[in-house]
Symmetry: C2
Subunit: 289 residues, 2 copies
């Protein structure tokens, strides 16, 4: 489809984005639905981000997708922020309404929706243990708290980030988060045993470090739901071991599709084409193999 | 072809550009040659032109095409100007070399090349009479003078613009231009009779005013070459009458293709695909009919 002056553009702002799955996910969905939109990858870091946003908002841009390293810096160029995105201090989606830019974050809610739709838990009765306290963990834990989770434990290798993250959640949303240090101590293992959902948000087990896992198999209980933000490979070591123990396992596919489908709705105003986007992402993952 | 981070973008900066022929000319040529370039129409006027240029130069833009109303205003954002474009004070082409923007103008030279390739004149022996003193006339007359024409007469409805244009050419290039007023006076008709090439740069005879012509049929001489910047219709009233008198006639097709082929070379560094671009433009014109 040719790009004309009527084509609504959506830019992906980040670097490096050469292998961004989201470009294909969005473009193939637009094409399949016959929508005159184009998702345009824009390799840009923090240095010239303001110039780019300031220039592009005069073009026919309906919005932006935002990825590393720009999710925090982009906020200073927003005219408005969605409440949850403002609380977590991270923006992965920008909607341009006649020059007014509003920032959202669909990463965390994409995860929560995936968790709820692929299990039968009720958030208000759910205790979560999150391994990792980086950007993905932050978005997911903030959404869990914002959407009503009972309790969130957070652990990270450094131990510093998880304390900062737990404090932010407690101050900005409600006091349900606790950082858990001293890996493999009785206290640590007790909190894991107490949890209904275990989240691997560390990147351990991704293709570059497939042998890593955030937790020993022996610490898992069959009643637990084990969720891994990674979708490539589709079964990390964490998920494989959890499955062998008898846990319900969920990988990051639903998270990436949900956050993308929510972006789609924000940009186009149309219903989320979840099934279509899921098929596109599955096809892309298959091509990687 | 999908747009990736490697796709070299070229933006067309102007308004209104909804029916720009150049977008299709360039995109279909890139596609036919298998080049990963995309010509992107950007509906933008003078107000936010600086913001747009300043933002886009951080993207993977190889350059810009520039059209109304931005050909003059764009110059203030250039780091360098080609000599001829600087002299005429008009820029229709920008090349981005690692963030250094250089302005060119291929309109006038596109016309001169078309005139020379479609006739057997020698510029240094050629006297030209140009009807019209707007942007197109300006570019063409400057190029004629810059490339060595013997004499240029310029006439315009208002009479003011042609005097300004003739003065600019005389001061900046060489004193060979003269504005001719008092339409249909003996002096005026004498200068027409003295000329080897008559140029219609007024827009008279375009689809919106097909019955207009800048000169009476009786004033034409069969030895004269009659050139019309209009290519739609392919034969304006001016060209039809000139043909009936026995003049050699040339329409603006070669001009638009030549200026586009020169842009192509500036942006890509590759040889000009003249024949391919001509076919694309002919096809587009046929679709208009």
């Amino acid at each position: 489809m040719e790009i004309t002056v009527d084509t609504r553009l959506i830019g992906l702002l980040g670097t490096p984005i050469g292998h961004s799955i989201s470009s294909r996910m969005h473009n193939e969905t637009f094409k399949a639905l016959g929508l005159d939109y184009c998702y345009l990858p824009i390799e840009i870091g923090r240095e010239h981000l303001g110039d780019v946003v300031n220039g592009l908002k005069h073009l026919n841009f309906r919005g932006f997708g935002v990825t590393k390293p720009n999710k925090i810096d982009i906020m200073q160029y927003m005219d408005e922020m969605d409440e949850l995105a403002a609380m977590m201090g991270s923006c992965n989606t920008v909607v341009n309404s006649s020059g007014i830019l509003k920032g959202y974050n669909t990463d965390g809610d994409g995860f929560v929706r995936s968790l709820l739709s692929e299990s039968n838990i009720n958030l208000k009765d759910t205790t979560v243990f999150c391994f990792g306290a980086g950007g993905t963990a932050k978005a997911c834990c903030f959404s869990l708290a914002y959407r009503g989770a009972k309790k969130i434990y957070i652990s990270s290798r450094s131990g510093i980030n998880c304390e900062v993250l737990a404090n932010e959640i407690n101050l900005r949303i409600k006091p349900i988060a606790e950082s858990v240090k001293e890996k493999d101590s009785d206290y640590y293992l007790g909190k894991i045993a107490e949890s209904d959902v275990l989240l691997n948000m560390t990147g351990m087990g991704m293709h570059s470090n497939q042998n890593e896992t955030p937790i020993k198999k022996e610490a898992l209980d069959p009643r637990q739901i084990c969720y891994d933000a990674t979708y490539n490979p589709t079964r990390t070591r964490f998920l494989s071991e959890a499955e062998s123990v008898g846990c319900k396992i969920i990988n990051g596919l639903g998270m990436v599709v949900n956050q993308g489908a929510m972006q789609f709705k924000l940009w186009t105003g149309k219903p989320e084409p979840y099934a279509m986007m899921e098929n596109v992402v599955k096809q892309i993952i298959n091509e990687y193999k």
